[in-house]
């Protein structure tokens, strides 16, 4: 009896360990080890050299204007997409969380997730049919007679931007919705009651209370948009180089994994810097009471 109990106890005690092990192993095997390999490759001299023949020349060769133009372009586009998504998503999330009744809410949330039921490539590629020379928009506009020549829309940065915003918007709406939904209505009412206008209430109560959602949404969009290579190559026609397209080029086409690894890590480092900066800006704009006291 006692032994049985002890075994049972031991099992419960070790349960958490048993259940977390697969996830940790998975992470180690398929994330941390490959990452270390990438780091190693970025310092490895190249095919034919001994394994300990380390060098920084791959990194040094990256410090040219062209590479930084590519990284800069990726940062700009990712930042622009994230910002536009934020401005578009906030009203939608606000409306969903605070204005819509319970019955409609579920339906609208379902509609929001509907794009995820479609294959990503199909989603992106269908935009080509919309934007193409003899695509949907041009056909309609020509028929109506608003334009005489088909508009040139595909293969442009604008098109890349548009498709990226379209694809990443739900990733911004979801975290915003989940924080806005937790805001209690009477807190907003209390603010108005104490003399704040709608705008003051929004600025001083709603935004600070949804800040964590803003950050999460921003990173959920910014990070993958920075490394995106499918949308630029399908919509942009590989006309513009982005970080993602260059990385895939090095590994898949040029087969230069050393330079590719170095570039991956450099752009990753810059991505991290951008994220930290954004986080810092958010926290500075909306200081908590405690942070203010510490000054």
């Amino acid at each position: 009896m006692k032994i049985k109990e002890k075994i049972a106890q031991g099992i419960t005690y070790n349960m958490s360990f048993i259940f977390t092990t697969p996830a940790v192993l998975w992470q180690i095997l398929f994330l941390y080890i490959p990452l270390l390999l990438v780091v190693y490759a970025s310092f490895y001299r190249g095919v034919g050299a001994t394994w300990y023949d380390w060098t920084c020349e791959h990194y040094l060769s990256l410090f040219t204007r062209d590479y930084f133009m590519i990284i800069g372009r990726s940062v700009m586009v990712a930042f622009g997409v994230a910002l536009l998504c934020l401005f578009l998503a906030y009203p939608i999330a606000y409306f969903l969380a605070l204005k819509v009744g319970r019955r409609w809410k579920n339906l609208l949330l379902f509609l929001l997730t509907l794009p995820f039921w479609t294959n990503f490539l199909i989603q992106v590629y269908s935009w080509v049919f919309v934007l193409d020379h003899n695509g949907l928009i041009n056909t309609i506009l020509l028929r109506v007679g608003l334009i005489k020549e088909p508009l040139h829309m595909v293969n442009s940065t604008k098109a890349i931007f548009l498709v990226m915003v379209h694809y990443y918007l739900p990733f911004m709406i979801m975290p915003l919705y989940s924080v806005l939904e937790k805001i209690q209505k009477d807190v907003l009412e209390a603010s108005m009651d104490l003399g704040a206008t709608h705008w003051q209430t929004f600025r001083r109560i709603t935004i600070p209370l949804s800040l964590s959602g803003i950050k999460t949404g921003f990173f959920l969009v910014f990070v993958p948009a920075f490394g995106e290579f499918v949308i630029p190559s399908l919509i942009g026609g590989a006309k513009y180089m982005f970080v993602g397209s260059l990385v895939s080029h090095y590994f898949l086409v040029a087969r230069d994994s050393q330079l590719g690894s170095a570039f991956t890590l450099l752009s990753g480092f810059i991505l991290l810097l951008c994220a930290l900066t954004f986080n810092w800006v958010c926290d500075t704009l909306y200081k908590t009471s405690a942070a203010k006291r510490d000054q």
Binding site: Q184, V187, E189, L209, A290
Partner: protein, 363 residues
């Protein structure tokens, strides 16, 4: 004087009529309680005064100023919300300072006023604490401080003590009374708890299930002289009897067919108080004398059998079954440790009361 004056207020939600032609005057500088059962529309009334809701029809005056359509942030009215509604991302200081910060008051003045206000509510020690580290009572005080710092003309309190335990509630009630007499602000206190309302209010209004105001008056008037069986039953406990009025030149009696006739004092200036009319009689349980031996000097007497006894501490409640099987409540103060007469289950008892101590009601 800035009395609140509501006239012919109509308000409905989703075709559900909450307030129907309600009129009420709340005198300036009083502690006014709005007492009513859940769903009587008392919170709606409060939200209309605050500006959180718009009337469908009707006028609201604050003093001689029509505030019916004044936006909420311009009204000199502040609210203490039921669940406190404190700003979770701010500490005590910032919560209390909020309305001043919004108005762009200079920071030295803010500092001074916040400190002073927090002293009034006995929170000066917790000035920089996070809201999440406060107890329920402390949160309540922050909500109170936040609402009074701007010296509003009217302070609205929406069941503010509902979430506190009994002891703390009693303490907060006394503090609220003190605060009100110090500030001289009109307090409008919404509650469904008659004990709270009777404790704090100078004046009170009783609302019924249909969102109508049944009676307005001082707590004593309401308790001793209710105008309807609803008020009599809702405020305190009472025994209601239904009977026929018999009025002659030399006597006034009420006839309960199954129990006999009882002396009452004829109500003055009531058109329904005439011979042969159906009326109700409200007899409060504490106004009845219960005994096992006959006594003299009372105008009315009933006999009954004790069916159950509930010991309340300061008083004991006897549920006595009368001859017509109606069960009525009787309260007796527990004045002595060793009473001479012990009343037990199934005892035959006499119930005595004076005719002056009952109230006759039309409905």
């Amino acid at each position: 004087m800035r009395n609140i004056f509501l006239k012919n207020i109509i308000k409905s939600y989703n075709n559900d009529l909450i307030l129907d032609h309600l009129s009420l005057e709340i005198p300036s500088g009083t502690f006014f309680a709005l007492l009513g059962p859940s769903g009587s529309g008392k919170t709606t009334l409060l939200r209309l005064i605050a500006g959180l809701e718009q009337v469908d029809e009707g006028i609201i005056f604050l003093g001689d100023e029509d505030i019916t359509y004044t936006p909420i942030y311009k009204r000199r009215v502040n609210t203490v919300f039921q669940n406190y509604a404190l700003f979770p991302h701010m500490d005590v200081f910032d919560n209390v300072a909020y309305s001043l910060v919004i108005r762009g008051v200079a920071s030295e003045i803010i500092e001074e006023k916040v400190t002073k206000t927090l002293k009034t509510v006995h929170l000066e020690k917790h000035i920089y604490k996070s809201i999440n580290n406060l107890s329920g009572g402390q949160k309540q005080r922050v909500a109170l401080a936040r609402a009074i710092i701007n010296e509003p003309d009217v302070l609205l309190l929406d069941e503010p003590l509902a979430a506190l335990d009994l002891k703390l509630r009693e303490k907060m009630l006394l503090e609220l009374i003190e605060l009100q007499s110090e500030l001289k602000t009109t307090f409008v206190y919404v509650t469904h708890d008659q004990f709270e309302a009777l404790t704090v209010a100078d004046h009170m209004a009783i609302m019924n299930h249909d969102g109508e105001i049944e009676q307005v008056g001082t707590p004593k008037e309401i308790y001793e002289f209710p105008v309807s069986t609803f008020v009599a039953k809702f405020v305190g406990s009472t025994n209601i009897f239904k009977g026929k009025l018999k009025i002659a030149s030399d006597f006034c009696r009420i006839d309960f067919a199954s129990l006999g006739e009882f002396d009452v004092v004829a109500p003055k200036d009531k058109e329904w108080a005439c011979d042969g009319n159906q009326v109700y009689m409200s007899l409060r349980p504490e106004k009845i004398e219960i005994t096992k031996v006959p006594m003299a000097g009372f105008s009315n007497m009933l006999k009954g059998v004790v069916r159950s006894i509930v010991y309340h501490g300061r008083s004991t409640q006897y549920n006595v079954q009368l001859q017509n099987n109606q069960v009525i409540q009787v309260f007796e103060q527990n004045e002595e440790h060793f009473p001479q007469e012990v009343i037990d289950y199934d005892d035959q008892v006499f119930l005595y009361w004076q005719k002056e101590n009952v109230v006759l009601l039309e409905k």
